[in-house]
């Protein structure tokens, strides 16, 4: 069982989040911790600019240049706005409550920086969540991946 948490600082309502380690071959030198918003509506896990630049350490200039990334694709949100994302292979590290560690291999989408996505949270999407039974217990304020 992996326990997430509700972010108490979210301005409108507590946001369900999970701490994850990510390893991006060719991009990171090792594991990097990042906190992701649990989003069962997102097809893929993604990093938005704040985390991509300040947490993972990807060069901001590099992120602004699609030609530097072999695979990229526009993704639409529910609101219809499309943004460019770079697809990279990734490994996700989880820590179970009993101390056991688990690695999952899945893709990661990294957003091209844009005025509209600067403050967006990074998302833990279905390409990773499909490996778990996801329990969001709002009244008890508990998040569980099992």
């Amino acid at each position: 069982v992996i326990s997430g948490f509700f972010d108490p600082t979210a301005a409108t309502w507590p946001a369900p989040q999970v701490r994850v380690l990510v390893y991006l071959p060719g991009i990171t030198r090792g594991w990097v911790a990042v906190t992701l918003l649990l989003d069962t509506g997102a097809m893929s896990t993604c990093l938005h600019p704040r985390d991509a630049i300040f947490t993972i350490g990807i060069d901001a200039q590099l992120l602004s240049e699609p030609q530097q990334w072999p695979y990229h694709q526009r993704h639409g949100g529910v609101g219809g706005q499309e943004m460019l994302y770079y697809q990279v292979p990734a490994y996700y590290g989880f820590r179970h409550d009993d101390g056991r560690r688990q690695v999952i291999q899945a893709g990661l989408d990294i957003a091209q920086p844009h005025d509209s996505n600067q403050a967006l949270p990074s998302l833990l999407g279905r390409n990773v969540l499909e490996h778990f039974r996801v329990i969001v217990d709002g009244p008890a304020r508990q998040i569980t991946l099992a």
């Binding site: 108490p8 600082t9 911790a33 704040r50 967006l120």
Partner: protein, 87 residues
């Protein structure tokens, strides 16, 4: 199939602890910092605000001017009035 060069998770306790410390910091100080830096990105190093800006690129420049690597700082966007995003 997992690559054989994927780093081990065995020696990552410090990463988990640092992430927990960061989340605890924001939980404890978010409201105070929000009052000082509303609607801004804030970068914190060793518990102290080292840069703040409404723009992420500007924040990056402020850190670079102090020779602070972006990953050295804990960074958040502080807002009391977020857009209601549907992701």
């Amino acid at each position: 199939v997992l690559r054989t060069d994927v780093p081990s998770l065995d020696d990552t306790d410090d990463l988990w602890e640092r992430a927990e410390q960061e989340d605890a910091f924001w939980s404890q100080h978010y409201q105070t910092l929000l009052a000082k830096y509303p609607e801004q990105f804030v970068a914190v190093v060793d518990g102290k605000v080292v840069a703040a800006s409404t723009d992420l690129q500007a924040l990056l420049q402020l850190l670079r001017a102090q020779r602070i690597e972006p990953t050295q700082a804990w960074t958040r966007f502080l807002t009391a009035h977020p857009e209601r995003v549907i992701l």
